[in-house]
Assembly symmetry: C2
């Protein structure tokens, strides 16, 4: 297959830290241009606007690293111009706009890849395979981190639509929706919203899976000291533990899998395969669970939060 | 085709006021049993529990009129037992559970009908046909009613998951998603939540359609005096107005369509056709827009509300 000429849109921290190294190391892709209001990359043709880019440069695909609030318009423009599209997580600010992009890509025979980078953590596929052969009894997500360390000064995260603690929490949901053999459904949620903010700083979620087993999640943005990105699953034959956001897998306390971080290289490898096979991968289930939590959740006032 | 033996589950106000008369008048259906914690219907075999009903009586289909909070479990039980299922609106308490039911029905080759009764209001299909031949410039939903008149004492409507003013508002969204030729996406929302309640008593929504045109909605539960269930659509060739929840259609101010209320008979006629054709109709777009509004919306404190 020919090299895929790709443009990167939205040149911020995630583009520089993750997308660029992954693209540079993958011979299937050639980065030919960027579009970004403020950022650019040395040696790569830069535009401020995606429509200018699409007019001036021939590309096969566009990868969008902008905030979700503006992603729909950019993605729709790229698809309308006949380009394959890859979306950072979450794939949109609303479920309806992602549904529209899915339809647009299908109508035009293009690849749309709504990425969930945590699904490419090294222990996720081993966990999925292990659980596929067992009966799940319960699952528990514990996702507790210090927002001041991981999102310093990011005011947008606490604005309406910023998702708050669901910004990291959706990573956990993207893993659990991948590894659990049965779908699960929210039955109740408590969202702790600081009195000076719009988005929750902590949340407790209770789900039931299709067989009636409990799945719970605790999300906390105020965790100092040890940080937790853990998933515990009890089964009929042993207990599985994923730690470090899916990087390590333990069975009954013994380490069975670990590996280096290959999340973004994995995303681009998958994107290249999808394009080669003329397929799309648009699983909205993590974002749908978040929307369900906002739809069904009780709001509880939490103390004011400032960075 | 043989008569469809149907069971009605959840015998409350909506079952008596709407489902029973519609079923009685439709020769394609025979009501053979009910399941309800408290209610029953004279002359019809009554059960308290759906699993008892499914064991004791042979039915082809189940129509669920219970509150959405318990609907998923009942619907899943009916589908697992091989029955076609019809769901009152909204089809579930969460989007994820509706998705599960959709998959279950597809796997089993059964009909699932997620109903939106307002779509069967007499002027809705004429409006859809009229708009299909025009370019929409803008659309405005005005849905303002007095909650004390229409939902007297219904405390659940203001609880978490009760949807508040979106309980009637989702009817408007079910019409607009049906009649507008282009999909539309939420860009911002303001939810006014009484300080002693969990669900909004008023809301303003701003959407953009796929062509970039504005779609707005104003929902208000505190409207005394004249009530409004109106949709206004400006097009390149004339202005359309739907009033009375879709019962009347006006073009440039002149009445073009009106008719008697046939919403629930229409739902059952559609259900019978779906069963005959081996099809399902599960359009979650109205509920998805509501979830989007909770996901993206700003909460504003409103004065305490009591009936």
């Amino acid at each position: 297959m020919d090299v895929i000429k790709i443009a990167l849109v939205g040149i911020g921290k995630i583009a520089r830290d993750q997308h660029l190294p992954a693209l540079s190391a993958d011979p299937r892709f050639e980065l030919v241009a960027t579009a970004s209001r403020h950022g650019s990359i040395e040696g790569v043709t830069a535009f401020q606007d995606i429509s200018e880019l699409l007019k001036a440069v021939e590309v096969d695909a566009v990868s969008l690293c902008t905030p979700p609030q503006v992603r729909h318009e950019l993605a729709a423009a790229a698809l309308e111009a006949g380009k394959h599209v890859m979306l950072e997580k979450p794939p949109g600010a609303t479920l309806s706009e992602v549904e529209h992009l899915r339809g647009l890509a299908a109508d035009k025979g293009l690849t749309l890849h709504a990425t969930w980078h945590s699904r490419f953590a090294p222990a996720v596929e081993p966990a999925r395979a292990w659980l596929a052969e067992r009966k799940v009894r319960s699952a528990k997500i514990t996702w507790k981190e210090d927002v001041r360390v991981w999102h310093p000064g990011q005011e947008w995260i606490f604005e309406a639509g910023g998702l708050g603690v669901f910004d990291p929490g959706i990573n956990a949901l993207s893993i659990v929706t991948r590894i659990l053999p049965q779908p699960f459904f929210l039955t109740s949620a408590e969202l702790h919203v600081p009195e000076n903010r719009q988005a929750p700083i902590a949340a407790e979620l209770a789900f039931k899976d299709a067989a009636g087993n409990p799945v719970t999640a605790e999300f906390d943005f105020l965790q100092t000291g040890p940080q937790s990105w853990d998933i515990d699953v009890e089964t009929d034959r042993g207990a599985l533990k994923l730690t470090h956001g899916g990087a390590k897998m333990f069975v009954d306390g013994a380490l069975t899998h670990e590996g280096p971080d290959r999340e973004y290289p994995g995303l681009y490898a998958h994107f290249a395969e999808l394009i080669a096979n003329g397929e799309s991968d648009v699983d909205v289930s993590p974002l749908r669970h978040v929307a369900d939590a906002f739809l069904l959740g009780r709001h509880t006032a939490a103390p004011a939060f400032d960075y």
